[in-house]
Symmetry: C2
Subunit: 353 residues, 2 copies
């Protein structure tokens, strides 16, 4: 099956149109709605990344303070709220502590993602971990990972531990698979989707499922939230992969082309490669498979991606996953949290436009 | 307090002389006694490191097959046996699965220890992970770490999870502290002992404690096994650190000087530095603190270490810890497992002679 057919075969079934108005502010609106929980989660993160070894909180703070959107813990908190979780009187707020676990696992994977190989160093990619070095990134990541399991042990739910330890294993598998597909233009669409499921969607799914579990909701609700998280994560990563080739982002001064320089196999590249001419394919093989890149190659790659509408193809897939994410929420009664979660899915796609 | 006084202050109290006859074969004798359990543990390790992503079992097998003595899982199995653990009819052999968890955590730390920094690469130390690269070492380590928590979740004991997740956090702290002390000759004896406790003794202790927990033994027995493991681990690492400067090992064709080249702060170096002349200290500062090493420097370092009896000092500390390990077992009734565990402690020290 060629990539074009494969692309369609891999589109989630029955994509539906979702209202996207106001999508861009959904994430902020959801954070605001859950502001108390988010604040408590931030406090838990800071309190529990402490260690008598000073470099650990220093390096962790470097990432945690940089912060970003805290999307993954927000998903745990929102899912718990959607499922009507209320901490028992005198009980620690389980959803808050588990949201911190999710953030620790995510931060650990970010730190480990910073680790570069000798070959990457040769290509000048050392900046990602330039401040602290490979070894510190690995060890502090290990600490946060271990700490997240200490937190889970304190929480005491074997169900939660099964969900998050499985997600952690799946993330590692996804990242290894990504390494194995690097520089390989024969990577199939299926394999690419498996990579982004592992590296991104698995933790989104687990973060959501945990919310249902702390609320003691039945299996089908946990499954629905898992499906929401999975599809949201797929959409999120597809958009992320498209942003790495978004020429207009470049005009805004944002970094473009990291994936290109690393020879990472993402949908924009696969789509452009398969839709390209014979000459285009020679180009792609040289820059991606042989890693023989020259200064103007990124510009040429961006123009080929524009010609072949590879970004539009990627966005179309992302939109279909976002629709599936919204659809998964339909078993829950209508309400503000459900509405905002749907809008977050829409926002995820719109940020690439 | 000078290092000499500090050395004595840090010697475990009341060292006792322990019979060392036959020590060298104790490890094999213990493995033979527990051969069925060890075989089952090896099977569990191989079965559970499997993954649909081929690179994972490939790389893991590279380390697991290389094997070594499987000392840590052996400690779990022996401790469980010492505590009279018998799997319930129809129950999975918990000690076997938890021994596999311990081995996974150890293998993950080995893989992560292989990760090198750009500076190390510059000094030509890339060989440790030359086969697969930094990134693969990190990710497969992460997978094994996650998998060990999946296994613990299946086992279902929160006590075990608390022990092993805390050990994992302590290992990471110890390794970070080791990084922080690297190239720093002002490192105190206390700090050095904290490093080797974290990087080595913590997992030895946890491996032993888990054996008492699966057997459902009272706290003081778990504490005694923890003390055995801690002291054994300290002895083990002290000997390991001395072997890296053991000139006669070099004659046997074994690698000597890795710690030296990395500027790692270990007791042989600290003892030689503090016992050395002013000229010797200038030498040590150049090679360890400034990392300015020349071809003949290792030979000179070995001769300074011999002159100052720094290996004997290190061995004396190791022997004292080994004695404390044996002493910790005294609350258990005499028997073959207890006797062999004592001999393992003796063997640990004798391998450095």
């Amino acid at each position: 099956m060629g990539l074009a057919a494969s692309l369609d075969a891999n589109l989630p079934e029955k994509p539906e149109t979702t209202k996207r108005a106001g999508g861009e502010t959904a994430l902020k609106a959801l954070s605001d709605l859950l502001a108390d929980d988010m604040l408590a989660c931030n406090r838990a993160v800071v309190a529990r990344m402490d260690s008598p070894v000073p470099l650990i909180p220093q390096l962790a703070a470097h990432l945690v303070a940089a912060g970003g959107k805290r999307l993954r813990p927000l998903l745990t908190l929102a899912s718990a709220r959607l499922c009507g979780y209320v901490p028992s009187a005198g009980e620690a707020p389980r959803h808050v502590n588990l949201a911190a676990c999710v953030e620790f696992i995510h931060t650990a994977t970010l730190l480990h993602d910073d680790v570069v190989d000798e070959s990457a160093l040769r290509r000048g990619l050392a900046s990602a971990n330039a401040v602290f070095g490979n070894k510190a990134s690995v060890l502090v990541g290990d600490f946060l990972f271990a700490r997240s399991f200490q937190l889970m042990t304190e929480d005491g739910s074997l169900d939660v531990m099964a969900i998050l330890s499985k997600a952690a294993a799946t993330i590692a598998e996804g990242e290894v698979l990504q390494m194995a597909t690097q520089n390989d233009l024969s990577t199939s669409m299926e394999k690419y989707l498996e990579v982004i499921h592992g590296k991104t969607a698995a933790l989104f799914a687990a973060a959501c499922r945990v919310g249902a579990v702390v609320a003691g909701r039945p299996q089908h609700e946990a499954d629905a939230l898992d499906a929401y998280g999975t599809n949201l994560g797929m959409a999120f990563q597809l958009v992320d992969d498209s942003l790495d080739y978004a020429a207009d982002q470049r005009l805004l001064g944002k970094t473009v082309g990291d994936d290109f320089r690393e020879g990472k196999i993402t949908l924009p590249v696969l789509a452009a490669y398969h839709a390209g001419s014979a000459a285009d394919r020679v180009f792609w093989r040289r820059v991606i498979e042989d890693s023989a890149q020259e200064p103007d190659d990124l510009d040429h790659a961006l123009s080929l991606i524009a010609e072949t509408e590879a970004i539009a193809t990627t966005q179309r897939h992302a939109a279909a996953y976002a629709d599936r994410a919204c659809e998964a929420l339909s078993i829950f009664p209508d309400g503000e949290v459900r509405r905002l979660l749907s809008e977050v899915a829409a926002y995820t796609v719109s940020r690439g436009r």
